[in-house]
C-alpha cells in the first residue's frame, strides 16, 4: 500500500518536474536574449557604435550584469557632446525595476551636465548606479 502510494507520488512529481524542465528549455532561446543576466557574470557583451543620423552618433556600452539582471546604456553624441542617454534592462522583478526607474533619471541628468561618467551614485540604488555608469563609461570610451 505504502509502496504503491509513494511510487505514484514520485511519478506525479517527476512528471511535473519534467514539464517544468521542458518549458524552461523551450523558452531557453528567448530567455537568453531577454535574461542573459545571471549566467554571464559581469558584462562581457561588446559594445558597438551604431548608425549616424543627421550628425548624431549613438554608442552602446557593454552590458553590465548582476544578480538582479543586466543593464545596457546607449548614448547619443552630437558635435562631441552627449545629448541623450537611454538604457535597456532585463531586471525581471518589480523592486529592481522601480529602483531603476527612480535612479536613472537622476543619473541621466547628472551625466548630461558633467559630460562624463564621473558622477556620484544614487543612494539606495548602488547596484543600478554601478551598472549604469560602467556601461556608460564603455560607451564614452568608444567615442575615441
Amino acid at each position: 500500500m505504502t509502496t504503491r502510494r509513494n511510487s505514484a507520488a514520485l511519478l506525479a512529481s517527476a512528471g511535473i518536474l519534467a514539464t517544468g524542465w521542458s518549458i524552461g528549455t523551450a523558452h531557453g532561446q528567448t530567455l537568453t536574449t531577454t535574461v542573459p543576466a545571471t549566467s554571464t557574470t559581469s558584462g562581457t557583451t561588446a559594445g558597438a557604435a551604431s548608425g549616424t543620423t543627421s550628425g548624431a552618433t549613438t554608442y552602446t556600452g557593454t552590458r553590465q550584469s548582476d544578480r538582479w539582471g543586466s543593464l545596457q546604456v546607449t548614448i547619443t553624441v552630437a558635435s562631441g557632446k552627449i545629448t541623450n542617454v537611454t538604457y535597456t534592462t532585463t531586471a525581471g522583478d518589480g523592486k529592481s525595476l522601480s529602483i531603476e526607474a527612480r535612479a536613472t533619471p537622476t543619473l541621466k541628468s547628472e551625466v548630461l551636465a558633467a559630460q562624463s561618467a564621473q558622477v556620484s551614485t544614487v543612494s539606495g540604488a548602488t547596484y543600478t548606479s554601478t551598472k549604469y555608469l560602467t556601461s556608460l563609461q564603455s560607451a564614452i570610451d568608444q567615442m575615441g
Binding site: 528549455t25 545571471t38 518589480g94
Partner: protein, 497 residues
C-alpha cells in the same frame, strides 16, 4: 493485592479461559464464538462494509500523498520553467540555484504543514489528527533546514557570482533592501520556533508558552512574504508563477481560517453546549455531562475527541483535547477526564451551567477506521473512556469483539461497570488485567510472557484499538507487531489528556 481482580468478566466461560491462559489460550476464542453464534449474513455484510470503507480511506490517503508531493514538485518546476536550469552553467549560478530551490521547497512545505494542522475534515478522516501532527513536525524540521540552506546557499552563490564574500553580500543586501532585513528576521523566527518545538523542549514549557512560540510562526510568515515577491525575478508581476504562489498562500490561509476559526465559532453558537452535571468517577477523575442543541449535526461518534473550552475566567483561554466517553445523542455529550495538568484539576470544580466552546470532532479512533468484521479494544486507565465510547458506537456481531482493560490498581479501572454492561448487551468478551506491569511488557506480572494473541487468538484478523498512557501504548503496539497484526488494522490515538 491484585489477584482478586485479575479476571473480571460477565461471562464465566471466558473468565475461565483467561485464568487458564497459557495452557488453554485457544479455548477463549472457541467459547466466545460459541456463546455469540454470529449470523453468517451479518458477519459478511459488516466485513464487506468495513473492507470497502478501508479501501476508500486508502484511496484518499493516496490522493493526499500525491497532492502533497505534487505541490513540492510544482514549486521546483516553476523555477525550471523560468529557465532556472541555465543557472547551473557556472559554479556561482549553481549554488544560487540550489539556494533558490531550497527556499521554494521550504515554502511549499510550510504551506503543507499549515494545512496539516488546519484540522481539515478530509485530512482528519484519512490520517487522523495525531498522524497529521506527527507529519507536521517532520515537515517542520525539513522546512527549517531548508530555510537555513536557502539563506546560506544564496549568500555563497551571490558572493561567487559577484566575486566577493558571503558576509559582504549579506551586508550589502542588508543596507540596500528592507525586504531582505525582514527575510532575515523571518529566518531567525522560524529557526527559533523549530528549535523550541522539538519534543524534548516542548515538554518543559507550559502549553501557553509553547502556543505563543508557535504563533510567532504567523509573524515569521508575514515577514518572509515581501522578499519572495520583490527579490526573486521568478515571481515578478504578471507571471503565472506569481499567480500560483499567491494562490498557494491564499488557499492555505483560507483553509486555516475556515476550519480553525470560522467552523468552531459556528459550532459553538449553533450547539450552545452547557455543562449539566459533573460526577466523580474514581480517583482524580470526573465525568462531565453537557447538553446542547442539534448535536447530530456535529457528526461526533464514540471514540472521537474534541477541543473543549470551558468558558470560565480561569479556563477560557485553554482548549483541552478530551475524548468522548459515551456515544453522543442529539442533545448530550459526555467526557470523562482525569486530573493531570493544572488546567485539568480545575475541571473538577466546573459548575453546571458553564458554557462550552467546541472544535471538532477529530480523530480516527472511531468506527470510521474499521477494516475487519472483528474488533479488539484495549484501554488502560483513563484511556478506557474512549474505548468505552467506541465500544458503544461500533458495530459487530455478538462474539466478534474483545475488550481488554488494564490498570495498576482496581480504582483506576474507570467506567468499568459501564463497560461491563455494554459488553453484556452487545456480546463482547471482557478481560481485566490489574497490577503493576511486568517489566517493559504491557501486561501485569501475573500475565508475564502473555501475548495479545494469547488473550484474543483471532486478533490478527481483527481491528485493534489501543488507548492509554504513552509508554504502555507503545508496549501494546510492539506486541501487536510481534503477533503479526497488520499495521493497517492497528488504530491508536495519541494526545495528552
Amino acid at each position: 493485592m491484585t489477584t482478586s481482580t485479575l479476571t473480571d468478566s460477565p461471562r464465566p466461560a471466558v473468565a475461565t479461559a483467561v485464568s487458564g491462559l497459557t495452557a488453554d489460550a485457544a479455548g477463549s476464542a472457541g467459547v466466545a464464538c460459541a456463546a455469540g453464534a454470529p449470523d453468517a449474513g451479518v458477519l459478511s455484510r459488516l466485513g464487506a462494509f468495513y473492507r470497502a470503507q478501508s479501501a476508500r480511506r486508502e484511496r484518499r490517503h493516496d490522493l493526499l500523498t500525491i497532492g502533497g508531493w505534487s505541490l513540492v514538485a510544482t514549486s521546483i518546476a516553476l523555477y525550471l520553467a523560468d529557465g532556472g536550469i541555465t543557472r547551473f552553467a557556472t559554479l556561482g549560478g549553481a549554488v544560487t540555484a540550489i539556494g533558490i530551490i531550497t527556499g521554494l521547497v521550504a515554502t511549499a512545505l510550510m504551506c503543507l504543514m499549515l494545512v496539516l494542522t488546519a484540522r481539515v475534515p478530509v485530512i482528519d478522516r484519512t490520517l487522523g489528527q495525531d498522524r497529521a501532527t506527527t507529519l507536521h513536525a517532520q515537515l517542520g524540521r525539513g522546512m527549517v533546514f531548508g530555510l537555513l540552506a536557502h539563506g546560506a546557499f544564496l549568500m555563497a552563490g551571490y558572493a561567487l557570482e559577484g566575486k566577493t564574500t558571503p558576509v559582504a553580500t549579506l551586508l550589502d543586501l542588508w543596507r540596500t533592501s528592507t525586504d531582505f532585513i525582514w527575510a532575515c528576521v523571518a529566518l531567525l523566527m522560524f529557526a527559533g520556533v523549530g528549535i523550541s518545538s522539538m519534543v524534548a523542549l516542548r515538554r518543559k514549557y507550559p502549553y501557553e508558552v509553547w502556543m505563543g512560540i508557535h504563533l510567532t510562526t504567523y509573524a515569521a510568515i508575514v515577514a518572509s512574504l515581501p522578499h519572495q515577491f520583490s527579490m526573486s525575478g521568478l515571481f515578478a508581476e504578471g507571471t503565472l508563477a506569481r499567480a500560483f504562489w499567491i494562490a498557494m498562500f491564499l488557499a492555505t490561509a483560507g483553509v486555516m481560517l475556515a476550519f480553525r476559526v470560522i467552523a468552531p465559532i459556528i459550532a459553538t453558537f449553533t450547539h450552545r453546549l452547557t455543562v449539566s452535571r459533573v460526577v466523580p468517577v474514581g480517583p482524580d477523575a470526573v465525568t462531565i455531562e453537557m447538553t446542547g442543541r442539534n448535536l447530530d449535526a456535529l457528526e461526533a461518534r464514540g471514540g472521537h475527541w474534541l477541543q473543549w473550552r470551558f468558558l470560565t475566567p480561569a479556563l477560557a483561554l485553554q482548549p483541552h483535547p478530551f475524548s468522548l466517553s459515551a456515544d453522543p445523542t442529539d442533545s448530550t455529550l459526555r467526557i470523562t477526564v482525569r486530573n493531570l495538568g493544572a488546567g485539568s484539576a480545575r475541571l473538577a470544580a466546573l459548575q453546571p451551567g458553564t458554557k462550552v466552546a467546541v472544535e471538532g470532532p477529530y480523530g480516527m479512533f472511531t468506527d470510521a477506521s474499521r477494516t475487519r468484521e472483528r474488533v479488539v479494544l484495549v484501554g488502560a486507565g483513563i484511556g478506557i473512556a474512549p474505548v468505552r465510547a467506541l465500544l458503544e458506537s461500533t458495530r459487530f456481531a455478538p462474539g466478534d469483539a474483545a475488550v481488554i482493560l488494564r490498570a495498576s490498581t482496581p480504582d483506576e479501572l474507570y467506567l468499568l461497570d459501564e463497560v461491563r454492561a455494554l459488553c453484556a448487551t452487545k456480546g463482547a468478551s471482557l478481560q481485566v488485567l490489574v497490577g503493576p506491569r511486568a517489566g517493559a511488557s504491557w501486561v501485569p506480572r501475573s500475565y508475564a510472557g502473555a501475548h495479545l494473541t494469547d488473550l484474543v487468538p483471532w486478533a490478527t484478523d481483527a481491528d485493534l484499538y489501543v488507548c492509554g498512557p504513552e509508554a504502555w501504548m507503545d508496549a501494546v503496539l510492539r506486541n501487536a507487531d510481534e503477533c503479526g497484526i497488520p499495521a493497517l488494522q492497528i488504530h491508536d490515538e495519541r494526545f495528552a489528556w
